[in-house]
């Protein structure tokens, strides 16, 4: 836990320095139209970096969380089982879209993790995307990414 806390605080300090450099590419001083566009971000990034350093020093000087594991046993697996399919849905958005991707995600998760009976699994994983489709695409006319598969099914493209 302590190593994780130290590493994370270190990462924040590095990020802060990167932010400062990015902000400093624009004028950070007084310009013809008042404070330059880089002024606010630059000083914010400086404050962020300093706060990160303070956290780093305080974490270093305390023994809090020494020897504790960062995650309880088996938690890695459970987190990846939820998170990786999320990443998968977004990664394949171009092909599957939100509705088919959501259908597969619901199907897989309710069946494999929840071990619910098939009728419930099918009802939920077809019903939910269908309901969302009707609400967003039909009634509110807010187009969501439908994906190439659904588009070719719907419009024959």
């Amino acid at each position: 836990m302590r190593q994780a806390a130290l590493g994370f605080a270190g990462l924040l300090v590095v990020a802060g320095i990167v932010f400062m450099r990015e902000a400093a590419r624009l004028p950070t001083g007084w310009t013809a139209s008042g404070p330059g566009p880089g002024f606010f971000p630059f000083w914010l990034a400086t404050g962020f970096t300093l706060a990160g350093l303070a956290v780093l020093v305080r974490t270093w000087s305390s023994n809090h969380g020494q020897g504790e594991p960062f995650l309880p046993g088996g938690a890695w697996k459970r987190i990846l089982v939820v998170f990786l399919p999320m990443v998968g849905v977004v990664a394949f958005l171009h092909y599957l879209g939100i509705y088919l991707g959501g259908l597969l995600y619901l199907l897989g998760y309710t069946r494999l993790v929840g071990r619910h009976p098939w009728p419930l699994v099918l009802a939920v994983s077809v019903g939910v995307p269908l309901a969302l489709f009707l609400v967003f695409e039909r009634w509110f006319l807010m187009p969501m990414p439908k994906g190439l598969v659904l588009e070719s099914l719907l419009y024959g493209r």
Binding site: A5, F19, E22, A23, L26, W30, T31, S33, G34, P35, P37, G38, F39, F40, P41, L44, A45, G47, F48, A51, G52, A54, V55, R58, L71, P72, A75, R78, I79, V81, V82, F83, P85, M86, V87, V89, V90, L93, H94, I98, G102, Y105, L106, Y109, T110, V113, G114, R115, H116, V124, V128, L132, V135, F136, F140, L141, M142, P143, M144, P145
Partner: protein, 513 residues
Amino acid sequence: MDPVRTFHDLLYGLAVAASPENLMVAVVGLLLGTAIGVLPGLGGTNGVALLLPLTFHLKPTAAIILLASVYWGAIFGGAITSILFRIPGEPWSVATMFDGYPLAKQGKPGVALTAAFTSSFIGAFVAIVLFTFFAPPLAELALKFGPPENFAVLLLAFATIAGLESGDPVKAVLMTFLGLLLATVGFDIVSGSPRMTFGSVALQSGVNFVIIAIGVFGLGEILLTVEEALRIEGLRARLSFRDVWETWKMFPRYVWTIIRSTLLGFWIGVLPGTGATPASFMSYGIARQFSPRGSRFGTGEVEGVVAPETAAHAAGVGALLPMVTLGIPGSPTAAVMLAGFFIWGLNPGPLLFQENREFVWGLIGSMYLANVIGVLIVLTLVPAFAAIVRIPFAILAPLITILCSIGAYAVNNQVLDLWIMLGSGLAGYLFKKLGYPLAPLVVALVLGDMTEQAFRQSLIMGQGSPAIFFTRPIAAFFLAAAIAVFLLPFARNVVRRARGGAVPAEAPGAAGS
């Protein structure tokens, strides 16, 4: 202004609003608005915008009643997913999550929902009364608030929020800086140059706080939940109307918070360009500082739901005031409604009260009726809403994820936002695990643009000298209050260390005095 005359006008307005046609329009608007509020990604602003074309066929009075009712419904509905799943249905219900979600997790979703709806109603109702009797003078006063005053008030908001979490104040400051930094991403309004984009074109439109909030709270919460075990603890939830009654019995205790939040929310709403979202955050932060129960905020304190909800709804009403009286929208949603005014052939401004008496007083009358009907509708549905938490986690988790994705995509219609959402979900999980508070991040992101604008305009007004913040009395007062509130958690730590440890973190109401 003559109160008798106003009262007479109000009765006329109520009669207009109670006509069968207008009443039906209000109910339809409320139901639609509640649904829009529940669905993340469909906000009050785009809900109103989407319905605007439908109003062309209605009479102006019915049209404004429809749009206003959608707005009220969305304010009621936004609290529902915040409390049940920690997904903000609306930007202004982010602060409601801080205590509403812990309450739901403790098996009391009915209490949290009732508290949210009831305080929304009270905030709105009192604000409507203020609106009815003091609209013109308040609108004039709001215009006296310049950039230095706005900046000082915003600083007070940050100070109160940074003092929110009982944890490490340095981490709270760090997260505030991070939120403000994220808010600067995208085009700079003054110079027009892209900032903090690292060369990415997609980032030029900026980082929307809704996406970050959905990520860190909605997804982050799912990751935290699976880390413990694969379930959400809501199964013990009681589902009955007894919750409603028992929550109401607690309300007299919160009378000061309600009064403070209503006045604060209403005033922030009246100020141009703000609206319900900053009002809800400020009210939460200030309630935490002043309430005797402040130290329990964030752990499922009913008062922590009451404060932001009261202010959000009061601000929603307040935002309509400068719109009707001066033609200046007080919030993004009000701006969309204002577009409607011109389409219906009306000119907002002082003359509107004289030239279109039916329209103005019909709108005011409908605010009274729509809020009474609205609170009755949502309170009847409390057991039904609370039942949602009984859905098994293996169904709820993917469902929440899909709703989060839709909500994040709807903001800008770009896939990059979904990656930002996933990234902030992971970041939110790590932040939470390592004791970095998330509330200051989101609040700073919400108020960031406004703060920078106020700051830059003030410096321009003062020709580069920060003295302008101290020479204007209202600004100086808020600035002093902000500094006092900001130093409070640090002082508390010093005192605790001096006394040798276990001192309960009490919030003495020292701010601003």
